[in-house]
């Protein structure tokens, strides 16, 4: 029992403080990989000592002290071996002066900005953030992103080497860079949620495993930058999407589209979180794409709950979104909204305006084309598009749904 409760204590501290500890250590050591390694050692030591000696009064401080000792040992070792530059001792002095008390500065925001820095390969940013800030293991991230674990590990190592070698600063960017840099952080969290707009429907259970983690990241970010409207917009968007998680599959595991979902299965607490976040964003009077996407999700939810939201209003939101960010996902979704508001032919025309090469392997485009072509009576196009949509789907339930449709 003692072993179990101290193991649980370590797990609880890990969840609560992993990112804070890594951020604190990395901001001082300027070496993210070393900070993570030292903290992993500290957690391993906790699992060994706490069952025997009891959980310390200030577990975070205990972990911090232990990790700092590991970092120190490693440097001393490296210095003997390589006669490392004098800067190391400066870094170490700073580290040694750092407070060991339970409270230490929360530097996760700086860490997030480092992970989503423009110098880091965009493809590596979401994984880097999930690993550095939340401590997720690489194998889980690799599965969610459908990349080889070895490839992902290489990317993470390369990114961390770059952070150290390029001496990317652990700091909150100044006003001149603020919008772009915050946008990068938001994009990385959004990419961590699914792998883009196509999975905002949350149809893939393997990916939705990371959805909760991404929502936690977004909420953490919004608390750290409460004046940033788009941060709240992202929280709202992800919370709306996540609130429907339980309603996306029926008892047999079959896919249920939004318009057919049992709204009583929606997580009301999350819907409330989303609406509150969206209102908070609106009060800051700085509109942006994530707020618009959240507003669209809000409109869908309201409509499903019986509110009178005219389809044209949703098209209007998409028009604003596409004006800011003409991504393939937004364009396809807009075409569906147009089809809803003005009929299938209008929706098809909107789809036809999207360049063909952008949608070749984009499953939602083919699903939308099948739906709208069927609606306009073009059975041949509908069938051909459905075949492509089925063939491009990586979710068995969605495949079954599409094969059964029409």
């Amino acid at each position: 029992m003692a072993a179990r409760s101290s193991g649980d204590a370590a797990a609880a501290v890990a969840r609560e403080s992993y990112g804070r500890l890594v951020a604190y250590l990395a901001a001082r050591s300027h070496d993210l990989a070393a900070a993570e390694d030292a903290l992993a050692d500290a957690f391993a030591a906790a699992l060994e000592h706490w069952p025997r000696d009891g959980v310390p009064d200030a577990p975070e401080a205990w972990l911090l002290t232990t990790a700092r000792r590991r970092l120190h040992d490693r440097w001393r070792h490296a210095r003997v071996e390589a006669d490392a530059e004098p800067t190391l001792s400066i870094v170490f002095d700073e580290l040694a002066d750092a407070p060991a008390e339970a409270r230490f500065p929360d530097e996760r925001l700086k860490l997030m900005f480092v992970c989503a820095h423009p110098a880091i390969d965009r493809a590596a940013r979401p994984a880097l953030m999930l690993q550095a800030v939340l401590g997720l293991d690489a194998a889980r991230i690799a599965s969610a992103f459908v990349v080889a674990p070895a490839t992902l590990s290489q990317r993470l190592v390369r990114a961390k080497t770059k952070i150290r070698a390029a001496a990317i600063a652990y700091e909150v960017p100044g006003e001149d860079e603020w919008d772009a840099r915050l946008g990068d952080v938001l994009d990385a969290i959004y990419a961590a949620y699914g792998t883009g707009w196509d999975d905002v429907a949350g149809t893939d259970p393997a990916k939705s495993g990371l959805a909760v983690e991404a929502l936690a990241l977004a909420a953490m970010l919004a608390r750290l930058v409460p004046h940033a409207a788009e941060a709240w917009g992202l929280v709202a968007l992800l919370a709306f999407c996540q609130s429907r998680a339980a309603a996306r599959r029926d008892a047999r595991g079959d896919y249920v589209p939004l318009h057919a979902q049992d709204a009583s299965l929606w997580d009301r607490a999350l819907v409330a979180v989303a609406e509150t976040a969206l209102a908070k964003a609106a009060s800051l009077a700085a509109p942006g794409p994530y707020q618009l996407e959240a507003a669209i999700q809000s409109a869908h939810s309201q409509r499903r709950l019986g509110a009178d939201v005219p389809p044209a209003a949703i098209v209007g939101l998409y028009d604003a979104l596409v004006a800011l960010q003409p991504t393939v996902g937004a364009l396809v979704s807009r075409a569906c909204a147009v089809g809803e508001a003005d009929g299938a032919a209008a929706g098809l025309a909107a789809l036809a305006a999207i360049p063909a090469r952008d949608v070749e392997t984009y499953q939602p485009y083919w699903a939308a084309l099948a739906h709208l072509a069927r609606g306009s009576g073009d059975a041949v196009t509908a069938e051909r598009a459905r075949t492509r949509a089925v063939g491009l789907s990586s979710d068995a339930a969605v495949r079954r749904f599409l094969l059964a449709a029409g």
Binding site: V146, R386, R388, A389, G391, A396, R399, L403
Partner: protein
């Protein structure tokens, strides 16, 4: 870069091929996938295979030849077909692997293809 996608299916998958209730969705799923891969213009070669019960395996050791009924390895999942596709990287190959119907039941092995030997 050429990768081979090897599609592994379970015995239940193989049974579905000729089942009265399940053959239609089974084949519709595979046909959609095959057509989509072809439509993307990546395919170098590919084929589906008859079930493992039709396999014959030959081994020869110490000058003695052994011919056996059945597949090479007695595993739960058996090779059901393959594609060789030309894609820029492993990530793209894995994306195509994830779309195969058998990814949800058996699995897909993705391996780079050896380049042809240089002419002497």
């Amino acid at each position: 870069m050429d990768y081979m996608l090897m599609f592994y299916e379970t015995q239940e998958d193989f049974d579905r091929r000729s089942s009265r209730d399940h053959s239609q969705p089974y084949w519709a799923g595979w046909m959609s996938y095959v057509q989509s891969v072809h439509a993307s213009g990546l395919v170098k070669s590919g084929a589906g295979l008859q079930p493992p019960s039709t396999a014959t395996t030959l081994r020869s050791s110490g000058g003695k030849r052994h011919v056996q009924d059945g597949p090479f390895a007695d595993t739960k999942e058996q090779l059901a077909g393959f594609f060789v596709i030309d894609v820029p990287d492993l990530d793209t190959a894995l994306a195509w692997a994830s779309r195969a119907p058998c990814a949800a039941t058996g699995g897909v092995e993705v391996r780079p293809v050896l380049p042809p030997p240089a002419a002497a």
